[in-house]
Every structure is written in structure tokens, then in C-alpha cells.
Amino acid sequence: MSQPTKGFSRRAFLRGSGVAAAASSVTSTQSASAAIVPVPIIAGETQVSLTVNGQKKTVTVEPRTTLLDTLRYQLNLTGAKPVSSDGSSGASTVLVDGKPVMASTTLTVAVSGKSISTCEGLKDGDIPKAFVSNDAQQCGFCTPGFVVAVKAFLNQHPDATEEQIRAGLNGNICRCGTYANVLQAVIALVKGNQNG
């Protein structure tokens, strides 16, 4: 149980952090605790509001309901796929506030109020067209996850090199092994030429 001996400053850190704010509010007014709204503990079913592909939705879920199950079984958006329960396949990739996350390892209650984009929301964009033009799918089961991952990747790296594309899409697995064509599709998108 050692205190940091060198090079750390709690004072500087605490300034502006939640710790200092909470501590001062408690000490400044004795009745502060009465004004604090307790954190709701959710047990059993609850209503959660989300924005999915630009539309406001309200769903009834249990704490254990994953975002993937909510999308597929309540909102009828079956693009994101249940391939791996631990998210290692990347097939359930969706964007939450623009960030690529695995819907299979995300709780619906944890994304309350956030904005979700699924591959269905990208259907009119360039990415599906580039996948079709470059024949970047075989059985197609991994494709929705790939499409969303490519969207997230290109948002961050619009001028990616081939090496960066390979590394960036490492989180998505294709059992058919159609990686070469996915790579071509993304290269075409980077070049702004979706017909390859």
C-alpha cells in the first residue's frame, strides 16, 4: 500500500475532477446529501431510448439484453450477426456515437440515449456498392460487420495505405477467406473509384 513517491500530484489532478467537486459539495453544505438524486438500480425490465439509424426508438429490455439482441429481435435489424459470443468475429460491429463496437458484447442499457448506426443505415452509401463491384463477399455472413468496420476505418483513415487497411480490419473474420476482395473494395473507396 504505497503512496506514489515521486512525480505524482494529487492536487493538480483533483483540480477539475469529479472527486474534488463531490468532496467540496459535501463539506460546504451539510444537507447536500438530501439533494443528491440516488443512482437508479435497474433490475428486471426497463425502457431504453436509442437513436437507431437516425430514428428514435424505445425498447423494453432487461439489463442482460445485448445491443445485438435488441437490434435483431426487437428492431428487426438483422444485419449485425451473432457469430461469436465474445465479439472476436467482428460480425456484430455497429457504430455507437460513431465508434465501432461489438453489439454482441455491449449491453443495451449501457447505450441508452446514444446514436447507433448499423449496416442497414449505410445501405445507400458507397461502401456496399464498392463491396458489390469488387465481389467482396462470398457467403455474406461477415459482410455487414465488415461494411460497418470499413465505415469506421475510413472515417479515421480516409487516405489509408494497403498495410493500414489490412491492420485496421483485423477485428473482422471471414470464414470464406474473401479478404483479398474486401481489401480491393477498400482500396477502391480510398481511391474514390468504387468500380475498382
Binding site: 504505497s2 493538480a12 437508479p40 465474445d86 442499457v109 449501457a110
Partner: protein, 346 residues
């Protein structure tokens, strides 16, 4: 997945208050990349899940007046990587870049990565960390298990990829519990080797929350990490090494060598580090450090290969820190153009 209570606190105090109830098995959720899959497999069956991702104080990376970097427990690997702070943390930067899955980087957190549960397949199949006091590992498939620190029951390896790099940088963690109790631990002291069922691979007790990892200013300290992996996918590395080195006119003044994926804790290769002191950084001293790092290794039936790999990882990490070589695929010598010409091609 067994159902559970869920709460989303707004402050650290609310979080520890929610975690404090001793009658409930409570767990902390941040990114969820590891926890949710463990819950789906019923390896962990908590009564309460406390999501700390929305605590604004934990979403920040800050630098204090000493130049130390405080990374909050809700900071994603991606945010950390993209912050200007990692430019001085070469080893940590290399590791996060190596966790080359957009999803894991965006969803996973820095502190969550440090506290991932072991990947040992006996543990993940519900046999507990010790898997019948180590018997299942010894008699079964142990190709990814420990070669160091494995003489007692625990044979799993600590899964954190980032821990060796941050330990080599001298990182601390801040831990809080109810009653404004806070404690600071050197990152290496966060981990332990369990000896009895019920113990875990870290020293956290029920109700404690790691709020930050703090990394002191590195100034001109050199660092590097080297992971040996099957391929470029998101799989666990087979072994890894991270080094932090303070050198003066080419001579090592102080060194830390930490091994990953070889022991139930991030393994401090103390002897290897001590013997680097006073030496120049070159291929020979790097090779020696690698050999010394695994001097006490005791391989199981299926993981002797890890000894050689660990030697190589240490050597390459040292050389990479010194800017001498990176090794592996990234800097192969140029192919000899006429390699296949000559008599065979005629």
C-alpha cells in the same frame, strides 16, 4: 446470461457506494469486451453490474504538474492512442497499435485491458483459475500456459498486453473504496499469483475500484515492447517483453524488463534488468538479457517453445528501445534480387 442489477453512476463516490454492498457480488463494467463474454459463458455470474463508462471524471486523460499522465478508467485504448501523450510512451503505443482491431481499440479501455481476466481455457470453461490445483493444466493442453512463476497451483498467464509496457514506464494505479479511502499501488503490485480457490489474479478486494493509471513523465527514458504473435490478427501474443531504459552516453544507468504471457503475473525480469546496468546497448547485451530473463523458467509439457520466444522478445525489445533494430517482419533485410537465379533457374 444470468440476469443482474445494473447501475450507471455519475461519480466515483456513487460507483464505490454501489460496489460496496458485501451481500452482492458486484462487478465493474467499462468497455465490456471481456466481461460480457465471461458473463455469457457463466464464468462470472454477478448480482450487480456497475457501469463506470459514463463517469465524466474517468473519461479524461490529464497531465499533472509533475508531467505525470493520469488515464481515467473510462478512457478507451483508441482515445489514449490518439492523444498526444502516447508519443512519449513508445512501448505502450506499440502495444495498442498491435491490438489491431478497431473494435477492441474503440470499445476497450486502458484500465480494462490491465484487468482482463486470464485467457486460460480451463478458467474460461469454468474450472476456476487454478483448475484443480493446476492438475488440469499439467496433464492437459498447456501450450499457452506459464513457464515462469508456475511452480505452485497457478499455471495461467496474465493476459494483459499493456501491463508490461506500463510497468516498464513506472506506472501506478489509483484505487478507491467507500469512505473516501484511496490507495496507490505500483502497477506491478496490482497483480498476484493466486494460491487458493477464491483468490484472483489481482489484489483488489470487493468494493474497490481502479480509477486511474498514472504514468510518470518519461523524459529521455527509452522504451519499447516486442510481442511475438501467431499472425497479425487480434489473437493473444504467445510471449511479449517490454523494457524501459535510462541510458547516458550509450551506457545503461537503469533498466526495467517486464515479460508478458509467460507467468500468472506480468513478470519482472529483475536479474536481466540489473545486469544491463553499466553495459552498452548492443546485440550482445540484448541477447544476454534475453537469456537471463528466462533463466528460472520451468516449462510444462507443451510450452517449452516459449523459452526461446521470450529470449527473442527481450532481445528485440532492448534493441528496439535503443533504436538499433526492430526485428521481425518490419525490418527484414532487402531481398537479394538474384537469390533464385543461378544454376537452379537455368
Amino acid at each position: 446470461m444470468k440476469n443482474f442489477e445494473y447501475a450507471q453512476p455519475r461519480t466515483e463516490q456513487e460507483a464505490v457506494a454501489l460496489l460496496a454492498d458485501q451481500s452482492k457480488h458486484s462487478v465493474v463494467l467499462a468497455g465490456g469486451t471481456d466481461l460480457i463474454s465471461l458473463m455469457k459463458r457463466s464464468v462470472i455470474t454477478p448480482d450487480r453490474v456497475v457501469n463506470i463508462a459514463e463517469i465524466s471524471g474517468l473519461q479524461r486523460i490529464q497531465r499533472d504538474e509533475h508531467g505525470s499522465i493520469w488515464v481515467g478508467a473510462a478512457v478507451s485504448l483508441q482515445s489514449f492512442l490518439e492523444s498526444s501523450y502516447t508519443t512519449e510512451l513508445a512501448a505502450a503505443q506499440q502495444i495498442i497499435q498491435g491490438i489491431a482491431s478497431l473494435q477492441l481499440q474503440a470499445q476497450g479501455t486502458v484500465v480494462g485491458e490491465l484487468l482482463r481476466r486470464p485467457m486460460c481455457w480451463y478458467f474460461r470453461s469454468g474450472h476456476g483459475l487454478l483448475a484443480q490445483q493446476g492438475r488440469m493444466v499439467v496433464e492437459g493442453d498447456n501450450r499457452y500456459h506459464a513457464i515462469l512463476g508456475n511452480r505452485r497451483s497457478a499455471k495461467f498467464v496474465n493476459p494483459s498486453r499493456l501491463a508490461p509496457a506500463l510497468i516498464a514506464a513506472g506506472a501506478f494505479v489509483r484505487i478507491i473504496k467507500p469512505g473516501n479511502d484511496e490507495r496507490f499501488l505500483e502497477l506491478e503490485s496490482l497483480y498476484q499469483t493466486p494460491d487458493q480457490d477464491g483468490q484472483t489474479e489481482n489484489v483488489l478486494t470487493q468494493g474497490e475500484l481502479v480509477t486511474h493509471v498514472m504514468i510518470p513523465a518519461q523524459r529521455d527514458r527509452l522504451s519499447a515492447a516486442y510481442e511475438i504473435r501467431h499472425g497479425e490478427g487480434p489473437d493473444q501474443p504467445l510471449v511479449s517483453a517490454a523494457v524501459g531504459i535510462q541510458a547516458e552516453r550509450g551506457i545503461v544507468r537503469e533498466a526495467t524488463v517486464v515479460l508478458g504471457q509467460v507467468a500468472p503475473i506480468p513478470w519482472m525480469a529483475v536479474e536481466a534488468a540489473r545486469n544491463l546496468v553499466g553495459q552498452p546497448l548492443n546485440e550482445q547485451t540484448a541477447t544476454t538479457a534475453g537469456i537471463e530473463a528466462v533463466a528460472g523458467a520451468l516449462p510444462l509439457s507443451g510450452n517449452e517453445y516459449k523459452i526461446q520466444l521470450t529470449q527473442v522478445a527481450v532481445k528485440r525489445a532492448v534493441l528496439r528501445a535503443a533504436g538499433l533494430e526492430c526485428g521481425g517482419l518490419e525490418c527484414q533485410p532487402p531481398l537479394e534480387q538474384d537469390h533464385h537465379s543461378g544454376p537452379l533457374m537455368v
